[in-house]
């Protein structure tokens, strides 16, 4: 009997926090780091009598995010009420476009196991409001075992895009590439910063298994993944779990399971979930979007990261790996491009950005947007090094000095006492003269032919280099000393 093979069939739901100053249905700030329950009002607290009023920018962010996923924008979308009781949900229902979303039918390209490109279809992206945040009293901060929970409604009503894929994902690796690429594209569109550490991207996965003997397991919804790693691990765990059940002839039951990141397992949910058809949100008329508005949003869409990386490879001769690296972060790529635009050699500029700039960013915990050396300034430095006015070592010294002292290239050069173009000619001769005068013994040794291995000569060269503060070219120094000792 042939060995049974299993094909995972995975769909992914992603919640991304959209970027806006105020909440989706009220004018409260979206700053969730504020002290608990300070950014609240009658609307996001669901107080009796309050009504939602939709934020224009959130609609545009939804459109941009949709376009970034190659989705089409619908001329008419509608809000619904999705009901369930939970203490973080003030109205007892969530206002969501679930049934008639703003954008539909897109795709994201990923690489399959053979390395070929495949499309993961995006069913739709819709707008909705987030719920409040819960903090649990249990010692490990988890829901299980917590006797009391604390609710902060600052997050309630912050804008979300929910992105639902078709079940086209076949592995945890594909899932990770899908969400990584998707995240990068959404950031590029400007719809969201998707700061992962701030929980701005959360994942649910629908996992089922198709067996080569024709059996098809039930769909299991896995919830509560908050990082790429958690998504990957949860899917891997679930694939293994379901495979094991099916191999032993058992049946996978259709259920919602929760990912426990600490234990690395999914557990069946004891919370009964009610699936209710949604009623139309009677307090919000339909959202109509004109073709003109869509065109305006399309015009605002920046070049997507993959297109940008290709351009770097084809037009700037960057190695693929470097191009991918730089375009991974839009702001870094923007910085790089400004640098090139200001005249820097692209390959050299890329190298500087990747090494020196990134090193200082990491050391000082800086975002590239706030980096102390503006890209135009860096371009000047890169060019001076390229033209040989500064040695690479000097360039790096100047760079570090500028980072610490926030000054111009010229200031740094002066303060460091560097002579541009290096120490050569009569200046070099002066140094050599004084070095020889200070070391008559050594000079005699060389002259008498005892320095057969050239060690003493090297010693003198080192002294000269030191005296010139590294600004002399070693080759020239060697030649000049050889001449002087003859």
């Amino acid at each position: 009997m042939a060995e049974l093979t299993f094909t995972p069939v995975i769909g992914i739901e992603i919640h991304i926090r959209l970027k806006s100053d105020s909440k989706i249905f009220c004018s409260c700030s979206t700053n969730t780091d504020a002290p608990a329950n300070t950014n609240i009002c009658p609307v996001c607290m669901g107080l009796p009598g309050s009504l939602p009023h939709l934020n224009h920018r959130v609609v545009e962010q939804g459109m941009l995010a949709g376009l970034a996923l190659n989705c089409g924008i619908r001329p008419k979308s509608l809000f619904f009420r999705k009901s369930y009781f939970y203490p973080d949900l003030p109205k007892g229902h969530q206002i969501s476009q679930c049934d008639l979303p703003i954008t539909t039918e897109g795709y994201i390209e990923v690489h399959d196991a053979e390395g070929n490109l495949k499309k993961i279809r995006v069913h739709h992206l819709h707008l909705e409001e987030d719920v409040g945040s819960l903090h649990h009293s249990a010692s490990d901060g988890r829901l299980e075992g917590a006797d009391t929970s604390y609710v902060d409604y600052n997050r309630s009503g912050t804008p979300l895009a929910e992105i639902v894929s078709e079940p086209d994902v076949a592995s945890a690796a594909e899932a990770v590439e899908y969400v990584t690429t998707l995240r990068r594209r959404v950031i590029y569109s400007g719809a969201s910063d998707v700061e992962l550490e701030k929980g701005m991207m959360r994942f649910d996965a629908n996992v089922s298994m198709k067996c080569s003997d024709g059996r098809w397991g039930h769909k299991v919804e896995v919830k509560n993944m908050n990082s790429f790693k958690a998504l990957e691990r949860a899917i891997e765990f679930e694939i293994k779990r379901q495979k094991k059940i099916m191999l032993s002839g058992g049946e996978v039951i259709q259920e919602t399971r929760h990912w426990n990141d600490a234990k690395g397992v999914t557990t069946g949910s004891r919370l009964k979930e009610f699936y209710r058809k949604f009623i139309v949100e009677p307090d919000l008329p339909p959202l109509f979007i004109s073709q003109e508005w869509i065109d305006r949003m399309k015009a605002r869409m920046p070049e997507m990261p993959d297109v940008r990386a290709n351009r770097y490879v084809n037009e700037m001769n960057l190695p693929r790996e470097v191009a991918d690296f730089i375009t991974d972060d839009k702001n870094l790529a923007d910085y790089f491009e400004s640098c090139v635009k200001a005249g820097a050699n692209p390959v050299r500029a890329a190298h500087w950005v990747r090494t020196e700039v990134l090193r200082v960013m990491n050391e000082k915990q800086l975002k590239i947007q706030n980096f102390m050396i503006k890209p135009e300034v860096l371009a000047g430095l890169v060019t001076r090094v390229e033209e040989g006015k500064l040695s690479t070592t000097q360039g790096k010294e100047v760079f570090d000095y500028m980072c610490s002292n926030n000054c111009s290239v010229d200031d740094a050069v002066n303060k460091l006492g560097i002579t541009e173009g290096g120490v050569a000619g009569s200046a070099l001769d002066e140094i050599i003269k004084s070095v020889l005068a200070a070391n008559p013994d050594v000079l005699n040794e060389i002259k008498s032919g005892l320095d057969k291995k050239g060690k003493k000569l090297k010693f003198l060269q080192g002294l000269v280099m030191k005296e010139s503060k590294g600004q002399a070219k070693p080759q020239e120094v060697a030649e000049a000393i050889a001449q002087a000792v003859k």
């Binding site: 009658p42 107080l47 939970y86 058809k277 919000l284 008329p285």
Partner: protein
């Protein structure tokens, strides 16, 4: 004549001319309330202190110094707002309903928050956690509902005008029962922000008063675009100022063909005849329109939608953030269950369950979605009718105010009585409940319906009829 007896318009004129002071008006109304309230029980919360502090504000707006009351489903900042439900406990909203803000800015003085059926679910004003209100014309009878407290307060002379809300007749039916005028404006004309929702797509705030001109005055203040209510219409030109030389000559008034077979109380039958004579005398043309879908399906359609929306509007009452709560529950589910089971009255519970039932996946298409489609047919039917007529004349209720406690156990039968009012909400139309005179000791009111945004025209037609019927007397049965 006592100051409390003055109609709104005369009161504002007198106040402007300084014939009397706001303090005197307040004292007169307060005295009137003190003498009747024990019998009528219109108030849930009296706000004498608020009124007094408002009197010191020196407002010179349209309604400066005019006492008023609000139905207790309109949020008032810092003042208990209950929707006549136990579940709201002693909730003091941190904000004002927009309609109240407009009145307040215009100088109206708040005398209190008045009774209603719990969450506006009912048509007697007896379904309140604070006890029943009595009809000031006959204390043994209901004032109608759900805005019974507002109608009773105006009828008994507590205040010259009041605000209520109308989801399926909750302004028009109690206005008719109490013998005052009441307008349910076009959906989208008055902001619902701060109105505690029942059926959001049906709810509309409107005024009660003792003359049509008074309604015009109030509407000129509250018909106001409000960005806080997304269903509120922008930039409509409402003109509620015409009251002289208005005429209905050549206008068409229709009776609904299908309603002719339904039986009416003799007093209402007589009022219908009398009103038709007035209309003809004024040179209007009487026609007939046919509303077959409305007459047969509107009641079912209305309740399906009202309950579907209501149950989601009531999901927010869980005891966490406001209102009645329990502190010793072992778990969140127990807390929610105990709060909601104790906090809601049984009529409300029935409607929540019905609404939940209709929107469950297996029934949603058959009931909720079907009802939204029937609603489209109803709106279309009205739209067509208004190509054939300017107004529709019909009762506000098929019966005179019933005796308190005489309500049928079969709730659906009670709902059938709403057939004359609720289609208007389904189509988002304006409806005026107007006084026609008395039948025995009881006032009789009827209803005029017009196309959307015809509120000013309906009120002008009301002015013409009022010239024949005279204004209602202040009901005196409540006096101790």
């Amino acid at each position: 004549m006592e100051l409390y007896e003055l109609n709104l318009y005369h009161l504002t004129e007198g106040l402007k001319a300084k014939k009397f002071s706001p303090e005197e008006v307040y004292e007169s109304c307060k005295k009137r309330i003190d003498s009747c309230e024990e019998n009528i029980h219109a108030f849930i919360t009296r706000t004498d202190e608020v009124a007094k502090s408002q009197l010191n504000e020196n407002n010179s707006g349209t309604l400066a110094g005019v006492p008023t009351v609000l139905k207790d489903n309109l949020c008032t900042k810092g003042i208990r707002t209950t929707a006549a439900s136990k579940i709201l406990g002693n909730w003091r909203p941190p904000y004002n309903a927009s309609a109240w803000n407009y009145l307040r800015d215009a100088g109206a003085i708040l005398m209190g928050k008045v009774n209603m059926d719990e969450f506006a679910m009912g048509n007697t004003c007896g379904n309140s956690a604070f006890g029943a209100t009595r009809n000031p014309n006959d204390l043994s009878r209901v004032p109608g509902g759900s805005s019974g407290g507002s109608a009773a307060a105006v009828s008994a002379g507590y205040v010259p005008f009041a605000l209520g809300s109308d989801t399926g007749g909750s302004i028009r039916q109690p206005a008719a029962y109490c013998g005052v005028y009441g307008l349910k404006p076009t959906y989208g004309m008055v902001s619902r922000y701060g109105l505690i929702s029942y059926g959001s797509s049906l709810d509309q705030i409107g005024p009660f008063a003792r003359t049509v001109r008074d309604l015009q005055l109030v509407m000129s203040v509250i018909a106001h675009y409000d960005p806080m209510d997304s269903s509120c219409f922008r930039e409509k030109n409402y003109d509620f100022t015409h009251h002289e030389n208005v005429s209905i000559k050549g206008k068409k008034f229709a009776l609904v063909k299908e309603f002719q077979d339904f039986s009416l109380d003799p007093g209402i039958e007589r009022a219908m005849k009398k009103t038709q004579e007035i209309l003809q005398e004024e040179g209007a043309e009487l026609v007939e329109v046919s509303l077959p879908v409305v007459s047969k399906y509107a009641v079912a359609c209305y309740y399906a939608l009202a309950m579907s929306e209501a149950h989601t509007n009531l999901e927010r009452y869980d005891g966490v953030r406001l209102g009645y709560t329990v502190k010793d529950a072992a778990g969140i589910k127990e807390m929610f269950e105990r709060v909601r089971s104790y906090g809601f009255g049984s009529e409300v519970k029935s409607r929540i369950i019905a609404g939940t039932c209709l929107t469950e996946p297996q029934r949603c298409e058959q009931y909720y979605v079907a009802a939204t489609k029937v609603r489209t047919l109803i709106a279309q039917e009205f739209a067509k009718a208004f190509t054939q007529t300017d107004f529709i004349l019909q009762p506000a209720s098929p019966e005179m105010p019933p005796l308190i406690g005489s309500q049928d156990d079969d709730a659906m039968k009670g709902y059938q009585a709403d057939l004359y009012t609720l289609p208007v909400n389904l189509a988002g139309l304006p409806g005026l409940s107007f006084f026609t005179g008395y039948y025995g000791d009881l006032p009789v009111g009827l209803q005029l319906i017009g196309p959307r945004w015809s509120d000013p025209a309906i009120l002008e037609a009301g002015l013409v009829i009022e010239r024949h019927t005279g204004t209602p007397e202040i009901a005196n049965e409540g006096v101790k």
